[in-house]
């Protein structure tokens, strides 16, 4: 796995974001540097938001906070949340799926019919429908802490597609149950738990890993979509001042909030919404690199075998060579 360049590149990107995020906070605290304007020869050249340049690779926001700093501080929330959502979802859905495939074979059709209905509900709409009461700051402030809200959001987002994933795992398991070797081990007296442990899990390990990667990617996208709806990770700070209300703000610097609260500036200062989305895209790309690398490390010979099968040596003999060989064969027979 560690020898696959794709896996290493993907892992390096994610590790860079995570370690960089903690290191940034360790060194410079959790407030990014702020510049109100850039001076050149004693004159102010550019005020906030400052466009991207060498000192500020991703520019600054409308208050002069460095975008790169904000993005780095926020990286840990978004990435850990996405990984946690997908992990929790798999932890719940995979045992459920096995149970569905093993013990509830007869009920599989109606359970999958029920889960199928989720395929008509756009995931983002579903998530926002459920999370609005949790994340939108009520009149008079939140009553729970930010960590409680993040935990609730992670659990809710994990549960959203548990039925779909469970049915998927269940039908995979059901296909495996029809295999002869599983029937053989069942005849030999293996219990259902043993079949799951010794046959189903090892057999589906790669599929489950790919499924996990897909869930992480999906979670990143849903988080970004929720950001567009002003539902940020860990809650949205809403200013209820009718005159000087601030726009809805994210409480942490996580990426969906950075994107959602700055989307209005797309035409004036495109770097403000674009850079968080770019970082999200990079993370998704990193995950898909890791998946590709993992798959290649698990079945590395597939490609080579298919190529080598085609290169069968064709022996070209001309007429005299052929006769020579034939004579040899004939001699062999005669002897």
């Amino acid at each position: 796995m560690w020898k696959q360049p794709y896996f290493v590149i993907g892992f390096a990107i994610l590790a860079f974001f995570l370690i960089g995020s903690f290191a940034y906070e360790w060194f410079w605290g959790n407030v990014p540097r702020q510049v109100r304007f850039i001076m050149e020869n004693g004159r102010a050249v550019e005020g906030a938001p400052i466009s991207p340049q060498w000192a500020y690779p991703f520019g600054t926001d409308q208050f002069g906070f460095d975008m790169l700093g904000k993005l780095m501080i926020g990286a840990k929330y978004t990435i850990i949340a996405a990984l946690a959502v997908a992990a929790l979802r798999m932890l719940i859905a995979v045992p459920l799926g096995y149970m569905l495939g093993t013990y509830l074979q007869r009920h599989r059709s109606w359970v999958s019919g029920l889960a199928d209905s989720l395929h008509y509900i756009p995931l983002t709409v579903f998530a926002s429908f459920l999370l609005t009461p949790v994340l939108w700051m009520p009149e008079g402030g939140f009553t729970n802490t930010i960590w409680e809200r993040i935990a609730i959001q992670v659990v809710v987002m994990a549960l959203l597609t548990v039925p779909i994933v469970a049915v998927l795992v269940g039908s995979e398991a059901a296909i495996l149950y029809q295999k002869e070797y599983i029937e053989a081990s069942r005849i030999l007296g293996a219990s259902r738990l043993r079949i799951i442990r010794k046959h189903l899990i090892p057999h589906m390990r790669e599929k489950l890993a790919v499924l996990y990667g897909q869930q992480v990617m999906e979670t990143f996208i849903v988080l970004a979509h929720l950001g567009l709806l002003n539902l940020f990770l860990g809650g949205t700070k809403v200013s209820r001042d009718p005159m000087f209300g601030d726009p809805p703000m994210s409480i942490s610097f996580e990426w969906s909030g950075l994107f959602g609260s700055s989307f209005r500036y797309l035409h004036g200062a495109p770097w403000m919404p674009l850079s968080p989305v770019l970082f999200i895209a990079l993370s998704i790309l990193a995950v898909s690199f890791m998946m590709e690398g993992y798959l290649r490390s698990k079945n590395p010979k597939v490609k080579k075998r298919s190529l080598s099968a085609k290169k069968e040596e064709v022996v070209n003999w001309n007429r005299s060579q052929l006769r020579e060989k034939m004579v040899q064969v004939k001699d062999l027979h005669d002897m």
């Binding site: 199928d116 009461p133 990143f220 849903v222 994107f259 035409h267 898909s288």
Partner: protein
């Protein structure tokens, strides 16, 4: 019969989901309010009944407005965008698949790799880049290719449709490539090749017919993915569609109406397709 059962279970599932916020807020308070949950669902159902009477509060004119028949216009616009994009995605995915299948092994792998990583671009980035590109083009040349937001009565089609179609197209393309390559290993392809048919003919006539069926059965997930994208698209282009309407009126009744407006056409599309393909498949696995 089986379809009817599936239909009923899907409807039950959607109804169960529509009451979930109550259950969730109950759980946050620390108690499981199952009775309350079912009461809400039945209340929502009752309030749905004379469908003409559902109304929402309109902030702009500070008045209760009946949902029907205005909502039909939103629904039709959303569905038009969705199905135009789906059609475009299917068409281009199949075209590109056939073209890639005609290439050699090495080039095919490279094309697949590039598109595979393109797939991981978030839809938001694509929409934003498209909007910025239109503006940039306008500033440079003074030609407005397409307006980037809906204002008033004029509706825009091709820019949102192409934004919406891009990612599903790549997904479908990957699906198609997998199926076509699977199909290529089948015996009948070898037979056709040994009979002297050209590669193009085999791909277009023999493999195409078999692969399309398998792609059709796997494409449901792509449509689901498109629904999420449609939501974001309507928000970012300010399209007067059903999703934007739902965002402004997050009520269980509107939620159910919105879901049904997608559920019915997509369900019928898939049911008809399933019926059609299964009927043709029966008895002859390979065409």
């Amino acid at each position: 019969m089986k379809l009817l059962l599936k239909f009923i279970f899907s409807i039950i599932g959607i109804l169960l989901v529509s009451g979930l916020p109550i259950l969730l807020s109950g759980l946050l308070g620390g108690e499981l309010q199952l009775a309350e949950y079912f009461r809400t669902i039945s209340a929502v159902l009752e309030s749905m009944w004379p469908v003409q009477d559902i109304s929402v509060f309109n902030y702009r004119i500070q008045k209760e407005m009946p949902v029907f028949p205005n909502i039909l216009e939103y629904i039709s616009y959303s569905l038009q965008i969705l199905f135009l994009a789906l059609g475009a995605a299917v068409f281009f995915a199949l075209t590109f698949t056939v073209l890639t299948m005609l290439l050699g092994e090495r080039a095919r792998d490279r094309v697949k790799m590039v598109l595979y990583f393109l797939e991981s671009l978030p839809d938001l980035l694509i929409i934003m880049l498209a909007q910025l590109a239109v503006i940039f083009f306008l500033e440079q040349t003074g030609i407005l290719i397409s307006s980037i937001a809906v204002t008033g009565a004029n509706r825009i089609y091709w820019l949102p449709v192409s934004c919406l179609a891009l990612l599903p197209m790549i997904q479908l393309y990957r699906l198609c490539m997998l199926t076509f390559q699977e199909e290529e290993r089948q015996m009948y392809v070898e037979l056709a090749r040994s009979l002297g048919f050209s590669k193009t003919f085999i791909i277009l006539v023999h493999m195409f017919r078999n692969a399309v069926i398998s792609v059709f059965f796997q494409s449901k997930k792509t449509v689901w993915f498109m629904l999420s994208n449609l939501f974001v698209l309507e928000l970012m282009f300010n399209l007067p569609g059903i999703m934007l309407f739902l965002r402004d009126n997050m009520m269980p009744q509107i939620f159910i109406l919105t879901i049904f407006s997608f559920f019915l056409p997509i369900f019928f599309l898939y049911s008809i397709g399933e019926w059609f393909f299964l009927r043709r498949l029966r008895g002859k696995e390979v065409l």
